[in-house]
Symmetry: C2
Subunit: 361 residues, 2 copies
DNA sequence: CTGAAAGCGCTTACAG
DNA sequence: CTGAAAGCGCTTACAG
């Protein structure tokens, strides 16, 4: 006698001859139920094909959907385009799943469909990852939902969720480059920001002035190591093409650099693409460094000299932080004492030497 | 006077001096509301910081969560491991978003945490993509939720959602290989299935007997083209390593083949990896073909001779099908006439010739 | 053009 | 160890 249209807790409770509350507790385990009573409920459930309380009812009654919104563009692109974000999603997904939270992917709001969707979706917290588009409308909307929100978009509150000492990492890398004997060093940096900017030669100070926080820290590291760049290129977008443009401009100088330091692997890859095409050997004629240690088409794993940013670990750290924010918020609503969020975890950023930096003799 | 703890439709309606139903209709637009009345409601909402009906309330009252569960393992792996699944996710996400549905990522059930999660999450339909693990418990559970479900796991009902003529594609590819003069042809095929199988040499018939439907169709194509394989290798897992093993075994034969046909790019890549390491030149000494046209580390785009499976397009087709199933189910519940699902869309599978097949002189 | 009311499927104090 | 009842925030016939 299975297959009732839609079996509900109430129906099961009735069939088992108990109150809804008792049946509920059999499934949630939040209250002790007499073994025989529990057994009776379970048997009734089984007979009726009831697989447990509906997520919807639970969500409404408890006020928790056990869903985390993840606003991202990463799934809307070639896997090759932004592997770091994918790794972050991976870490988020795993850590949240561990805690019983699912992630629901939400595209940035850019049109009616995405606006509709953003409003229709429910979640207890949200993390945005590398969106690139739709900031104007998405951000105010997310804020209006008044749930905990961590943004990994290169600005806002990323620092409050995960600590990264970019400067120490790039300083260590730059020191090694200097020790390798390089003196004509150029910098090609990205200015990932809400607006795109044009590609082009610039100066360290100008670039620094408009760079987002994390890029600044990376530039700080170069400076602290003692790098005096002979040329600085502003990459307008986070793309391999932008790197190629940088390569073309910098290698076209009267006195081309022997080493180009970048703040993103995609740019390093683009520069190397251009160098190879122009018959410039890497690292014999030109050394190049990156940041992130992502996998790149056309390159061996571990080939590029770079800083390793472990996306999965980062995702996990961020997830733990958001979970903690959720707990604190729940405690606050329950009216208890104001709990502390606690320390922000640090993501290690080791240098990977690779094979794209030559020691000058 | 914003910032009420939790602003509800009821509160807004009261403030605007209208009934809840009227306020509701202002937001959903499902009923005409007098302009001034609507304006009054909107103003009250704005003043109180109300951003629209809660997704939760809507979901419970309407019975639709506007969420599609996507059971996958793809996000739990290196982006490089399974780019095709990622592309499929991309397509699903886009097409569902277009229709106002968000996707919630659910890992296969393999332990307490994932079981808990699967039960906690709500969705109106589900599509599973290349899970590889946890079939035993996940499948019965998904079935028990009684929502439309499409499985892209290499078995079950994939054919009912998207039509792919694998056989015609591999037949065309194999014909060209034969025309190129190859006679000593080997086959290395994967048997992606619920259980993994050992790597090893086998026979065409044995392999065919245990292969899943889609692999069979690909083998059918080879046969229809007239390929008489001199050796057949069973790849036990869908991995590059399994391909390397195939390469080692097949190139180690007394009379090694001049061409190896595979049913997956990862295997083709593994075979080429092994060949290169052993000093066997591709395609001069060995031709290799794949299936899927995924991006692969260490290979140029378009390098491998293969069949192009457009993951994003596939995801979109599958999403449209599920959306249609949802409509039909809703119509059935509403008690109308039984609607037809309609035709299954076809995913084109063009051959990409690439540079890994040599013409023998 | 608008209202009052039932109900979606649960959880959670409150009471015993 | 168990029940009866309120309530979570909406939508949707039903009435007028």
């Amino acid at each position: 006698m299975a297959e009732h249209r839609h079996v509900t807790l109430a129906a099961v409770a009735k069939a088992a001859g108990v109150a809804k509350s008792t049946a509920s507790h059999v499934f949630t385990g939040k209250r002790v139920v007499a073994p025989e009573t529990a057994e009776r409920v379970r048997r009734a459930a089984e007979a009726m094909g009831y697989t447990g309380p509906s997520a919807l009812g639970r969500a409404l009654a408890s006020g928790r959907s056990h869903l985390i919104g993840v606003v991202t563009h990463a799934l809307l692109e070639d896997a090759d385009t932004d592997p770091l974000s994918l790794a972050i999603l991976d870490g988020l997904q795993r850590e949240f799943a561990q805690a019983g939270y699912g992630i629901v992917i939400i595209p940035p709001i850019t049109d009616d469909a995405s606006r509709e969707l953003a409003h229709a979706v429910l979640y207890d917290g949200v993390v945005s990852v590398r969106r690139m588009v739709g900031f104007e409308e998405t951000d105010p909307y997310l804020a209006s939902r008044k749930v905990p929100w961590i943004s990994l978009d290169g600005y806002m509150n990323e620092e409050s969720a995960v600590r990264m000492d970019d400067a120490a990492a790039t300083e260590e890398l730059a020191r090694r480059v200097l020790e390798a004997g390089h003196t004509r060093i150029a910098i090609a940096a990205y200015t990932f920001a809400v607006e795109e900017r044009p590609d082009g030669l610039t100066t360290y100070d100008e670039l620094y002035a408009i760079a987002p926080e994390n890029v600044r820290r990376r530039l700080d590291g170069f400076r602290r190591a003692g790098v005096q760049p002979v040329a600085v290129y502003q990459c307008g977008s986070v793309s391999r093409a932008s790197g190629e443009a940088a390569g073309e401009a910098l290698l076209g100088l009267d006195e081309p650099p022997t080493c180009i330091l970048t703040t993103a692997d995609v740019h390093a890859a683009g520069i190397i693409d251009h160098a190879r095409r122009s018959g410039v050997r890497v690292p014999e004629d030109l050394s190049v460094t990156g940041f992130d240690a992502i996998t790149l088409q056309g390159f061996e794993n571990g080939e590029i000299c770079t800083i390793v940013q472990d996306g999965e670990a980062k995702g996990r750290i961020v997830a733990r932080r958001l979970l903690r924010m959720l707990e604190v918020a729940a405690a606050a609503r329950a009216g208890g004492e104001v709990e502390e969020l606690g320390e922000v975890e640090e993501l290690p950023l080791p240098v990977r030497w690779g094979t794209t930096v030559a020691t000058l003799s």
